[in-house]
Symmetry: C2
Subunit: 401 residues, 2 copies
């Protein structure tokens, strides 16, 4: 990917999304003109690490709207944001294709444009809960200690991956499509780009909201540097790691990518021995999940009726919708049904409210949900070494006086 | 595999394991001499289907001994038992190896012999429970309607797969090892052998009870035809489907086998569309599971203390042992700890007993277990279209007077 590294600085977007200078033509102009000049458009996030940048919003803010504002949309990066010159940018598409080629941003923006609303969520969402007292006898889970905020629901605009694949003519024996980012991650003794991989069947979806996009717009604006400027994958229904940011290369293959972030991370493993990694396949779809966003964890409440709000995400499949959303204030004996509010749309989260009675015996509120494709949040889930896919009942500690 | 089909009938073992005639030499003699002449050595099984043969034992009998007698060991087949002439038999080993070759039974029996006790269990064990009232709004799960008896713990003798792979010299780019059976399964418009596939890392395990074997002996006797005579894989810790019977071919590859039973079956899928299959990897390890074997389902009991027995299987990993085994007679409010009895051995089930108080309100007994590698039996699990890996709490309906 060295040919894609910055060589000129006519148009340069720093990690904060700042337009330093511009000499763009045609439709690409529009892309750059709209870029916000804010130094740090994600100042409202709580950054768990700043190098690389990893931040999530406060849950109370996150739940304010069905469509997540860009500045409240979590940021998950593995290296500093790469500085990419738009006019030098070329997406390479290669591998098991009849006509390998490169695409400039102008090429991509000439292709039929699609607008999709889809929720992205990190596989490590709620990871910090794996280090709770429930798992006292197992090793501490390292990695970014996410709470329940690495989830967001945005609109994405770009061309369909299926259209690009049609253009390059996928060969008969293709089975998987790899994505490689232009970021430069120090991994062991080498530098790699963040890699993703999805089955060809998903890559070829070309109708409905489940179709993967090569997105250059988020919520009607060019991507911020934190979110992958100038181009990122958006794979609705899959864990965020497959929606590779700063997309520089697509490879069509007969097998999943050997990139570290496909072969040796983002898998459910108990131990870190080679057998465990070999036995576990890559995670693609996200499972059902849900969280209580208001009141805050540890809130002091008065006995009586209280109002809760939160989000629920159905399993990442077509036609999967939240069905039952239940809250318990007495440790799971009695359950109150939550009310689903706002839009109900495939591959998107579902906001909800609930009115629940609490009393002086209430020490935590429990939340569980099911969806129409058979997904359910279990009461407990097995520990896993990397702390992924935490989707057991959400537990919110409260004090009631 | 056509070269392995019966062409002579000097030594012929029919589906009942009957020795029709013999002219064997060397150590292979011993193999045939010991073959039991019983017409149907599995007459104690409850056959769910007889063509192909699919039977499981009554749970009350199964739990009588830690080592499962061959005649009580479940039979899971996809086609009639193939008739294989021992002296014509050749195992072919090919693919990404430096020295592909064939092995006669005599060749295999000259290799260092290993004796391993390991539990095999069908991925469809407890499948019939998916058709209980818990899952009223989802499609009925088809396939053999197994109860909790497709599990057995036997001793296996043969050479290690790792030794064979060392002999043929696996090439650098190898990642998976495929197994093909000599059975002939009608699948769509063609005839295929039952196929399995395991990661190379597992195939190369050459110490401890987790090492895969090419077994020709079960419980000190040659395999019965139902269990794969003359040769089968035994892959400790993996679902039974990977322990391919009537083994005829081993292929070393850079990817999992494309055989129907790896690519299009034995996966956790909700729907049967192509995307679902592409997104789900092959199941290898079995998860923790457990069942109550006595008393029988629906028993009439007297109020007071009752004695339960059953099995518990820890997750199919090294050093994974059953930890907590709990029974509830009151719908999950109170739990009584079971007592682990008999041998505790890696890759083997654990028998247990429990003394539980029941009263006139008791309508079912609940069983859950955890293991030392983090495995737990959840209260409920999502439905899946093929009815695999049912390991939620075991529920035994009873009547108490």
């Amino acid at each position: 990917m060295n040919n894609l590294l910055p060589s000129r600085r006519e148009v340069l977007l720093s990690s904060g999304g700042v337009l330093v200078a511009g000499s763009l033509k045609g439709t690409v102009d529009a892309l750059s003109q709209e870029v916000t000049a804010a130094k740090n458009p994600h100042k409202d996030l709580m950054f768990r690490t700043t190098d690389p940048r990893n931040g999530e919003p406060e849950l109370t803010k996150l739940v304010n709207s069905w469509q997540t504002p860009t500045e409240l949309f979590y940021v998950r990066s593995h290296a500093p944001n790469p500085e990419i010159e738009v006019d030098q940018f070329r997406l390479s598409v290669e591998g098991l294709v009849r006509r390998p080629g490169t695409f400039s941003m102008a090429d991509l923006m000439k292709m039929p444009s699609h607008l999709t609303t889809a929720t992205l969520t990190c596989a490590g969402n709620r990871r910090s809960e794996y280090n709770s007292k429930e798992y006292q006898n197992v090793p501490k889970v390292s990695g970014v200690q996410w709470e329940a905020g690495t989830i967001g629901n945005a609109t994405w605009e770009g061309c369909q991956l299926a259209a690009i694949l049609k253009r390059v003519e996928v060969l008969e024996n293709a089975k998987h499509v790899w994505f490689e980012g232009l970021d430069q991650i120090q991994k062991n003794s080498s530098i790699i780009g963040f890699g993703g991989s999805i089955p060809l069947e998903k890559a070829l979806v070309d109708n409905g909201p489940g179709a993967p996009l090569l997105a250059h717009q988020m919520n009607g604006q060019p991507l911020t540097a934190d979110h992958g400027f100038p181009l990122r994958m958006v794979v609705p229904g899959y864990i965020g790691a497959r929606s590779v940011k700063w997309l520089g290369k697509i490879v069509v293959s007969d097998r999943p990518s050997p990139n570290h972030y496909v072969a040796n991370a983002y898998k459910i493993v108990t131990k870190t021995d080679p057998l465990d990694w070999a036995e576990s396949g890559p995670i693609y779809r996200f499972p059902i999940n849900a969280a209580i966003c208001t009141p805050k964890s540890g809130s002091r409440l008065s006995a009586g009726a209280i109002e809760l709000t939160g989000y629920a995400l159905p399993t990442g499949r077509s036609h999967s919708q939240i069905k039952d959303l239940m809250i318990s204030a007495d440790g799971g004996r009695g359950w109150t049904r939550g009310k689903l509010i706002g839009k109900k749309q495939d591959f998107c989260w579902q906001l909800w409210t609930a009115n629940v009675q609490v009393n002086s015996k209430t020490t935590e509120l429990l939340l569980r949900a099911t969806d129409s494709s058979g997904g359910l949040m279990p009461a407990r889930i097995p520990w896993n070494a990397k702390g992924y896919l935490r989707n057991s009942w959400y537990r919110l500690p409260v004090e009631v006086s």
